[in-house]
């Protein structure tokens, strides 16, 4: 298990290094001056530029430049935004938690809904329930997310008026920014209207979460169905039947765990997809997350913001990847051993 952990951390380190390499090379690949792209100081005077050039070691060779960039990134300096002239790290600190909140909530919703439905479909294989589930899943997967988002707003916010259509929380509530995660901040705050604020924030979350979760949930349905069908065909299930266990016992004690092992493997992969959907959804629901900010930065040609935002977002996705790998190892004893696991 220690070797497994070290290997994963090793992987994390090298992937982050590769990502910084990519983001560093972007400063050269984007139009304009590399130094200005890196630092974001578009209105700098020649004197300021000279100081910056010294800081980023732009007179030296490319390796020293990369090294200087790395030390900037790891000391928390990602430059300033070309559009707002604010330090990017501060903006990301506010925006990234909102995205994490939305995407994790959507991931959990997709898993808790999709996986059990997939299992049910597998257990009722080639019966009516299976066909209905597959049809609905196909339908759900085919709906474009921007259209679904607009439909959801149209029906639930405008016609029925049940749920708010935009933002993270009503402006009435003033929540102090502590961790950046809205829900945690509300629970930490000592406001008298804490529970009303909590309800309001939850109501704001429902629509975007459901919209983001729909497509991944349908993928989980199909993944879980395939995994369960495969497991139910294994000889240990037949042996368990011969042992005299009931069908329920077999499903709960043996089938679900083995099928989950297969599903968890793919959750990490699906997460990147989910974050992409979340970015589009953030724009539709005016969710103050990093996705919307990134898309706006692309429109404004804010190169500094784009490269730093990409770096942070992909690091986050990769971190989730590593975490799912750990869950996988916890579920699967075969993966924990160095000679079996990858």
């Amino acid at each position: 298990m220690i070797i497994f952990t070290l290997r994963r951390l090793n992987l994390l380190l090298f992937t982050v290094l590769l990502l910084t390499l990519l983001s560093f090379s972007l400063s050269y690949l984007f139009p304009g001056d590399a130094l200005i792209n890196l630092s974001g100081e578009i209105n700098a005077t020649p004197a300021q530029l000279a100081i910056l050039s010294d800081e980023y070691r732009h007179q030296e060779n490319i390796f020293m430049q990369y090294w200087a960039y790395l030390s900037h990134v790891f000391s928390g300096d990602l430059g300033i935004s070309m559009a707002s002239h604010l330090p990017i790290i501060e903006e990301i600190k506010i925006l990234l938690p909102a995205t994490i909140e939305l995407s994790l909530a959507a991931l959990l919703l997709a898993m808790f809904v999709g996986v059990p439905i997939g299992f049910i479909a597998a257990i009722k294989h080639e019966k009516l329930a299976d066909n209905i589930i597959l049809t609905v899943a196909m339908f759900g997967y085919s709906i474009p997310v921007f259209w679904l988002g607009l439909l959801a707003i149209l029906v639930f916010s405008i016609q029925l008026g049940w749920l708010p259509s935009a933002g993270q929380i009503s402006l009435l509530y003033e929540i102090k920014h502590v961790t950046g995660f809205q829900i945690i901040d509300i629970l930490l705050s000592d406001s008298a209207y804490k529970w009303q604020a909590f309800q309001n924030a939850t109501a704001h979350m429902i629509l975007p979460t459901v919209v983001v979760a729909l497509a991944p949930a349908t993928i989980f349905v199909r993944l879980a169905r395939t995994a369960m069908l495969e497991v139910l065909d294994k000889s240990y299930i037949r042996a368990a039947k011969a042992k005299g266990l009931s069908f329920g016992q077999i499903i709960y004690h043996h089938a679900i765990r083995n099928a989950m092992v297969k599903v968890i493997r793919d959750v990490g992969l699906q997460f990147a997809n989910l974050v992409t959907i979340a970015m589009v959804t953030e724009v539709i629901f005016s969710w103050p997350g990093i996705g919307r900010w990134l898309i706006e930065s692309i429109y404004q040609r804010d190169y500094t913001a784009i490269q730093s935002g990409l770096l942070m977002l992909s690091s986050f996705i990769f971190l989730v990847h590593i975490i799912t790998d750990f869950i996988y190892a916890a579920l699967n004893p075969l993966a924990r051993e160095s000679n079996h696991g990858a």
Binding site: K234, S235, Y236, R238, A239, A240, K241, A242, K243, G244, L245, Q249, H253, H254, R257, N258, V261, L331, N332, P333, L334, H340
Partner: protein, 329 residues
């Protein structure tokens, strides 16, 4: 009284091109305390027959039988669920490739514990847990695993095939079965381990009077451990009788060929001569011959063999052949 009495059991596989009769009217009976060998080439339907008895075939297969008695009780009158409940109470089965028959993500201990019947214990649930642990350890001792503490905590992939098979036998014993069906228990195992597993089964048979249905493709090996033998070929009954009858004087050409095909130490063979074997191979399910399925390969086949022969009984030695080696039909 017969423990198990099966008459004309057929197993059909439903495919897109119609149904295939995989097992064709096979009869089998077991007495109490008997060790019966079920012998045939791979693909002759031995495993299917065993799985049909235990009731673990999936819905692609349909099973018919004229008679299915368990300890004098007619099981055909019960529903499939009820039948499986009665059978799984007294009949246990161990499979080939034991490692794949154990859940890879659960420890041996918990898999063993769940096989133990709850009503063997008394007292409250915390007492039961302790008793359950103890019972699991005892079962492991019974099958000759001394270090139960290590074994209970390990996962199937950490044990050898032979140890896994012992664990499977321990699980089978957990329900205190009257009949144990062993489906090629030593396939892909070393000779020493094979011997150990067979000796273990033999001792269980002698000490607990447990009947064993031993399925194997190795006639030679099976004769050491069994009282009676049933030979199958391509889903049809071939010959049945006591081990001595089958081994010393087989009536069916197929059994004769099986015996001839096993090389002996004192065999005088000229250089580069072929070993005795039937020509061809066992037919695949999609292209089964009509009548006696051995027909195309049989050295004694004649025109009458396009009709399936009736089973003839010669003093308890059953044979299904038109032109059996008995002579003077």
């Amino acid at each position: 009284m017969n423990l198990l009495d099966i008459r004309n059991l057929s197993i059909e596989l439903k495919t897109a091109n119609g149904t295939i009769l995989a097992v064709d009217r096979v009869s089998l009976s077991m007495k109490e305390g008997e060790v019966r060998g079920l012998v045939g080439e791979s693909g002759s339907g031995k495993s299917l027959l065993a799985q049909a008895i235990v009731g673990v075939l999936d819905e692609r297969w349909t099973v018919h039988a004229d008679r299915f008695h368990w300890r004098g009780e007619d099981l055909l009158r019960h529903s499939a669920e009820e039948r499986k409940r009665i059978i799984s109470k007294d009949v246990a089965m161990i499979f080939q490739e034991p490692m794949s028959c154990l859940d890879p993500t659960t420890t041996i201990g918990s898999q063993l514990e769940e096989a133990i019947d709850n009503n063997q214990f008394s007292g409250n649930f915390w007492q039961k847990r302790k008793q359950r642990k103890l019972a699991a350890a005892k079962l492991l001792h019974k099958v000759g695993i001394k270090h139960h503490e290590v074994c209970v905590k390990s996962y199937p992939h950490q044990l050898t095939e032979a140890l896994c098979q012992r664990v499977m036998i321990a699980m089978a014993l957990a329900r205190r079965p009257i009949l144990l069906i062993a489906d090629e228990p030593t396939a892909a195992m070393e000779a020493t381990n094979q011997g150990q597993i067979f000796r273990l089964l033999a001792s269980l048979n002698q000490l607990k009077n447990m009947s064993i249905l031993l399925i194997s493709h190795d006639l030679e090996n099976v004769t050491h451990w069994t009282n009676t033998i049933t030979v199958m070929y391509s889903g049809q009954f071939v010959e049945g009788g006591t081990t001595r009858q089958i081994f010393t004087q087989p009536y069916h050409p197929y059994t004769q060929a099986l015996l001839d095909s096993s090389p002996k130490a004192n065999m005088q063979l000229p250089k580069k001569s072929r070993l005795a074997a039937l020509p061809g191979s066992i037919p695949i399910l999609q292209h089964l011959p009509i009548g006696c399925r051995l027909g195309p390969r049989c050295p004694r086949a004649q025109q009458a063999c396009v009709h399936a022969p009736k089973v003839k009984n010669h003093h308890g030695h059953l044979v299904s052949c038109h032109f059996s080696l008995k002579g003077g039909n």
